[in-house]
Symmetry: C2
Subunit: 422 residues, 2 copies
């Protein structure tokens, strides 16, 4: 269908010349083409008038031309917007950092407003000394910084039964990736002094749902952060202001927002959110007790249903995201023909632990249809499975932890559609 | 004055117990203390009511409690807000990423509104084929991603004559640090085909000022990016939407916004912005012809005049930023006594080339006054100089390229002030 992009200037220049006929975009063989383009030949209004002064936006928002790059929900998914989910517009983003303003939201009883002055974090249970920290107390402990992805366990969940949602934002947009600043949870646990019989922590939010999850002590003492900043600034209200838990590589509902209590226990609490919810039912009808880690996964973000090819054949940048809750992405393969032939994609930077990795495949598109897929590898040797491989183990009744290979059918007119191939 | 923070849990626990008396913040010796804190003992409104649903903010803004964390300008600095500067609130940020919404702005004729459809980029001059690219054309070339700082040449410029502006936001806030996605400039130059006699490129913006700068071909072919995304999303209007130049490590005014033209030349243009402006006058009255690279520099962001110590003595996190236009930060030293004794700060992550590095020094503050300074080292072996050392070479008449060591006088009440010490 499409061949690897060759870096010969002549090839690309030929393409650009070709586009002159369509859009007059290139001077190419002479300035004659540009003569017809007033955007080149005439002085434009924005070059004659003053723009906005620096008082215009003390805190800026995206320009009005980008108002479609926002979080969106899917109305039929849930009955109300309180318990609903909205999705990151990953089809329109590039790079790896997700701005807080368009990073997906999921709340169990809505995003609450909690001032720093009113914030308290209690550590109780099997500790030498039960403690309560104010926000200011937390600011006095040594801090760390890390970029981590946060993925909802239900991301891609609607796709178990078939190809349903027509866009990467909706199939894979329950994910974001930010630079967090916070205090390691182990520092606070050491402060309180954990007793020898302690094996778990139960973490709980201050909102009405008091979303609570049990975390094994080994993880709690490893890389969990009590975070108060994301991408440099305070957490946004919808991301748990002023303090949320960051549980690298593990499912998003454990990243408790508006964190209010950490109980040190000798066994798991088995709360609602870790029994009736976020549990994987298998093909035989039994359920897995815990599935914490988000396995290696990837998706092509462009082209995709919300990001069609609009420029016709010739050079095309195929790009997407890959991640693994078990470590770093080491490799991503891309196929244009539904898995018959795979090519190794270029990683924009070496994979980092439990963080999004951006990949690219630069091709010369021949204008024929494509069945686009990507396949992630992580540093444990794990390879992202097909949906069929997952279904063999999990059946069709699952909701959570769907990390299957995604297929976009790209048509000759450049439009793309979510499909399943067998 | 203050000693290194010791990681003995007893020390810190003693401090936290101490704070019970002041604020009842810790259960400490028993739950009796918390019994008086209704934020612990009583169910709060936000735990009884539903919060906002996910429809509330398709694109989110900071919570209302953080409305002081915004860009600010200094009214007396310039006559009007069009040619003025606003400053990043670095005193209130942590980590290294700067959100676009609060990243400093500097325009020469205001921030213009330029739609992608109206965008054109011309390459002309000493090329085999003069070319004009549309925005869509640029999207078809292989992309790269890098995190880089952008610092205005005039950052800290008001401090040459003495300690003037009372806050890290105003002394050092003409800097931001973002993850850029774009096409390497060398790719576009190769596309047009540069002639053998070409030695420079002259880059120009589409705004009325047509801010133009000459860049040596060696740099143009090295790491310069024609960027269209920052921190994952489109550039904001005030940061050059839809396309700006990224010139890693070099002064901010060369990072031309609303980039419209690249002329390949055999000599520098010597435009207004690189002759009468952004030029360093030396002690003897002569001027340096070019000063492109931003030398190694650092500043303590907290505590600082806008971020005083409000919690009294005991554990204190001292933090700040360091950067170098010549490479990576390898080390930052911090002194609490105006340079008599230096301690090596902890870097949150290994320094990355031409990107902000966050540093921390965790101390036990004895409540006495401090003369806080930080000193950056980069991987060329360069060490950030004192203001006196800079003045010996540059005199008092300079405006630009002030990378001197900054001093904050922290008083026993925790307030801080911008001072000079000799």
């Amino acid at each position: 269908m499409a061949s690897n992009f060759t870096d010969k200037a002549t090839t690309r220049r030929a393409f650009l010349k070709g586009s002159v006929a369509a859009g007059g975009a290139v001077l190419g063989a002479g300035a004659a083409h540009a003569a017809g383009d007033p955007l080149i030949t005439e002085t434009q209004p924005w070059a004659m008038e003053l723009g906005d002064g620096v008082d215009a936006t003390p805190y800026g928002m995206p320009i009005r031309f980008e108002t479609d790059v926002v979080r969106r929900n899917v109305e039929w998914l849930t009955a109300d917007t309180i318990s609903s989910i909205n999705f990151t517009p990953i089809h329109a983003l590039d790079g790896t950092i997700t701005p807080q303003g368009c990073a997906f939201e999921r709340h169990h009883s809505g995003a609450i407003e909690l001032a720093k002055e009113d914030y308290r974090l209690m550590i109780n249970g099997l500790v030498e000394e039960e403690m309560v920290f104010t926000y200011q107390d937390l600011e006095r402990f040594p801090r760390e910084q890390h970029v981590y992805f946060c993925e909802c366990a239900a991301n891609t969940g609607m796709e178990w039964a078939g190809a349903q949602l027509n866009g990467a934002q909706f199939t894979h947009g329950m994910i974001h990736n930010m630079e967090y600043t916070g205090v390691p949870l182990r520092t606070l646990l050491k402060e309180a002094g954990i007793k020898t019989e302690s094996k778990w922590v139960f973490v709980e939010g201050a909102d009405a749902s008091s979303n609570g999850r049990s975390i094994p002590m080994e993880k709690a003492l490893d890389d969990v952060l009590v975070a108060f900043k994301a991408n440099g600034e305070a957490l946004r209200k919808e991301h748990g202001y002023p303090v949320r838990l960051v549980v690298p590589g593990w499912e998003g509902n454990m990243w408790v927002k508006w964190l209010r209590r950490i109980e040190v226990t000798d066994q798991a609490v088995e709360s609602r959110e870790e029994t009736s919810k976020y549990t994987d039912t298998l093909e035989d009808g039994t359920s897995r007790k815990w599935t914490w880690v988000m396995d290696a996964k990837s998706v092509v973000t462009s082209p995709s249903p919300q990001s069609p090819i609009t420029h016709g054949k010739g050079p095309l940048v195929i790009t997407g995201l890959a991640w693994s809750g078990r470590g770093s992405i080491t490799r991503v393969d891309v196929t244009l023909d539904g898995g018959k032939n795979w090519q190794q994609a270029r990683l924009a930077a070496p994979g980092q632990p439990m963080a999004l990795t951006r990949f690219y495949l630069d091709v010369e598109w021949d204008g024929e249809e494509m069945l686009l897929q990507s396949r992630a590898h992580d540093d444990t040797g794990y390879v992202q499975p097909t949906k069929e491989e997952l279904r063999e183990v999990r059946g069709l009744n699952s909701i959570y932890h769907n990390n299957c290979i995604q297929t976009w059918w790209v048509k000759p007119n450049g439009e793309a559609e979510n499909v399943e191939i067998s």
